[in-house]
Subunit: 339 residues, 2 copies
C-alpha cells in the first residue's frame, strides 16, 4: 500500500498501532502518550532526566542492502538507548520523527516501527510521540529519547582522573566486521554461525543499559561513553573532556572469536575495526583503581563481561596505544560526517 | 565556507556557539548541556514534563524563497514551543537534529541557529543537545522540546465538555495570507505596514506560552490545541478526542485588519485562510461557561486578547460553522501531508 493511499492520519494510526504493545514495564511515567499536542510524563523526584537525539539518514548511515527495515528500527532505537546507558540512565520515553520518501510502502514503515517496538520492549521504554513528514530526499529517522538517572549520579565523560583504569564492557569491532561482510565479502564462504554473529553485531546491537546501571551503583565509575564512533574516538573524547592522558593495551581489547576468524580469512586487522569502526554500542570509561574489584564483582554477579584495557596516566589530552613493544599515539579518527 | 572545510566537530562548535547566549532565564534545570552523550536535566517535583517533536523539510514545509534562514530557525523553534504552550507548559529544553545538504554554507546554518537562539531567548529555553548529519536530500530540521507543566494540570484536547464556550487567543489566517503574498502576489503594491504585518505573521509567529499559563491558572480551561494546521482541523481534533459537537460563528473569528485589507485586494475569502491555512500558532480551546469571566479578566489583566467564537453544543464528534444565516458542517481539512 502506498503512503498517499492511507493519508497522514491513516499512516499515524497504523504506525502507532505497532508501538502499543509494551509488556515489559512499558508506560512507566506516561501520563499522556501519543495523541495530544505533547506527551505528558512524570519522573521520580530523586531522578534527573537524561535526554538525547539521533538522526539516521539512508545512504549516509544505512543502506537498504546492508540492513533490513525491521533491524533499522531496532538499531535506531538501540543507538539512542545506548546514549542513555552511557550516562548510567534507564531509557523511558521516545519521540520518533520520520521523513518518508513517497515511493515507500506503508508495510515497509510498519517493519521499521516493529523493530523500534522490539527494542523498546527489551528495555521497557515507550514511544510517546512523534512526527511523520514527507520528503523528496532519503528516508530519515530521528529518535529523541528521555531516561532517568539517580539524581547527581549521571556518568559524564569529563571526570576521568589520573590513576583510574580504563574499561570496556564487551567485544569490539563486530559491527564494522558485519558491515564489511555485507558490503565487500557477500560471497565469502563462512561457517553459518560466524556469518550470523557478524550480521547480528552489525544489525542488532544491544545497548548496555544494565552495565551502566552497575557502574552507577558501584560509585566507582569516574567517566563513561558509549562506543558509537569507534573506541579511538570515544577515548579521545574522554581524554579531551577530562584533561587527562590515556594509554591502552592493544592486546587487551576484546575481539569476538567470529570477528577474529573473519578477519583472518580476509586478511584484515581486527583492531582497525575495534578502534575506528563504531556502532558497537559497548561502554568505555574509567573506574578508580582501588574500587576496581567492587566493579568486577558487580559485573560477575550479573554475568556481564568487563575488560580492563588501560589506564589514565597523567594530566593531558592525548591517547596512546601499546602495540607489541611499541607505544604509539592513537589517531583521533572514527566515523565522522563531512570528512 | 563549505561544510566539509570545517569538519563535523568544527561545525558543531560553530553552531553550538550561536546557542550559548541565554540572558532570559536560560539554563533553568540544565545540569549538563551540549557536549556529553546526553543532556542531564532537573525538573521540579511538582511539575510534569511535556515533550514534543517536530520536523520541517525544505520543499515541503518551507522554501528558500518564502522565508529567510534566520526566520526558519525562529519559526521551527516557535512551532515546538507552541505545542508546549497548548498544554499550558513552559518550554525549557530543546534537542535539535539537522540534516544538511553538502551544498550548504556554514554561514547559512549559523543564520538558522541564530533564529533558533532568538526564539529560545524570548521564552527562556535552552538547546541542550542535538545531532548534525549530512543528507543527499533536502535540509531537514527536527526539534524535540521538553517543558514543565504543573503536575496534573496539562491542558488536553480530550476533555471538552458540553456547555463549554470555545475560544481563540488571537487573529487567524495571517500566516497563510503572508505565504500567499510571498508565493502568488509578490508584485502587488501594498501599504508597507500591511506587507510587513503579513510577512511577520508568516515568518515570525509568536507562540502563546503566557496564554497557556493563564488558562492553567484559571482552572477553567477544559481543552486546548495550538493552531498549527488551521482552525478547522484543530476543532475537529478536540471534537473527536472529547466526543463532543462544536459550533462556531464565522463572524466571531478574529482576522487582523492587514489580512482583511490584503484579502479584499486579491479577492480571497480571509476565513478560508483562518480555517484551513495553519501555522498561526494561536491557541484554541474550551472553557467552562460559568468561569468565562474569570478567564477574560486574567487575559485582560495581562493585555492579552481572548475571543469567544462558539460553543460545545452536545455529545458527538462534529464541527459546524454559522455563516450568515446558514449553519453548515465545517470540513475536516487543513495542511496534511500525503493528501
Amino acid at each position: 500500500v502506498r503512503i498517499h493511499e492511507v493519508g497522514e492520519f491513516g499512516l499515524i494510526d497504523r504506525l502507532a498501532a505497532r508501538l502499543r504493545h509494551a509488556p515489559n514495564g512499558g508506560n512507566t511515567g506516561v501520563v499522556v502518550g501519543i495523541g495530544d499536542d505533547t506527551a505528558v510524563l512524570r519522573y521520580q523526584p530523586d531522578h534527573d532526566i537524561v535526554a538525547t537525539t539521533d538522526a539516521l539518514v539512508e545512504g549516509v548511515h544505512f543502506r537498504e542492502d546492508t540492513i533490513t527495515y525491521h533491524n533499522l528500527g531496532f538499531k535506531a532505537m538501540a543507538a539512542s538507548i545506548s546514549d542513555i546507558a552511557a550516562m548510567g540512565g534507564v531509557p523511558l520515553h521516545g519521540l520518533i520523527s520520520i521523513a518518508i520518501p513517497s515511493r515507500m510502502q506503508v508495510e515497509t514503515l510498519e517493519e521499521v516501527y516493529d523493530g523500534v517496538a522490539e527494542m523498546c520492549n527489551l528495555f521497557g521504554c515507550t514511544v510517546v510521540g512523534g512526527d511523520i513528514v514527507k520528503t523528496d530526499g532519503p528516508l530519515l529517522i530521528n529518535i529523541a529519547l528521555l531516561g532517568a538517572v539517580q539524581r547527581t549520579k549521571a556518568l559524564l565523560r569529563s571526570t576521568a582522573q589520573v590513576g583510574d583504569v580504563v574499561f570496556v564492557t564487551g567485544p569490539l569491532g563486530g559491527s564494522a566486521a558485519g558491515l564489511a561482510l555485507q558490503c565487500e565479502h557477500t560471497d565469502l564462504v563462512l561457517e553459518q554461525s560466524v556469518r550470523e554473529d557478524l550480521l547480528r553485531f552489525h544489525e542488532r546491537p544491544i545497548p548496555q543499559v544494565l552495565a551502566g546501571q552497575l557502574l552507577v551503583q558501584s560509585d566507582a565509575c569516574t567517566s563513561c561513553n558509549d562506543i558509537s564512533d569507534g573506541l579511538a574516538n570515544e577515548l579521545h573524547e574522554i581524554a579531551s573532556a577530562s584533561g587527562v592522558s590515556i594509554r591502552i593495551q592493544e592486546e587487551q581489547i576484546p575481539i569476538h572469536p567470529s570477528v577474529l576468524q573473519f578477519s583472518h580469512r580476509i586478511g584484515h586487522n581486527p583492531y582497525e575495526w575495534a578502534l575506528y569502526g563504531g556502532e558497537d554500542y559497548q561502554l568505555v570509561g574509567t573506574v578508580r583503581k582501588h574500587q576496581l574489584e567492587i566493579v568486577q564483582t558487580l559485573f560477575r554477579e550479573k554475568s556481564l563481561p568487563f575488560y580492563v584495557i588501560g589506564e589514565v596516566t597523567n594530566p593531558g589530552s592525548d591517547v596512546s596505544i601499546v602495540s607489541g613493544r611499541s607505544t604509539v599515539p592513537l589517531e583521533k579518527r572514527g566515523y565522522h560526517h563531512f570528512r
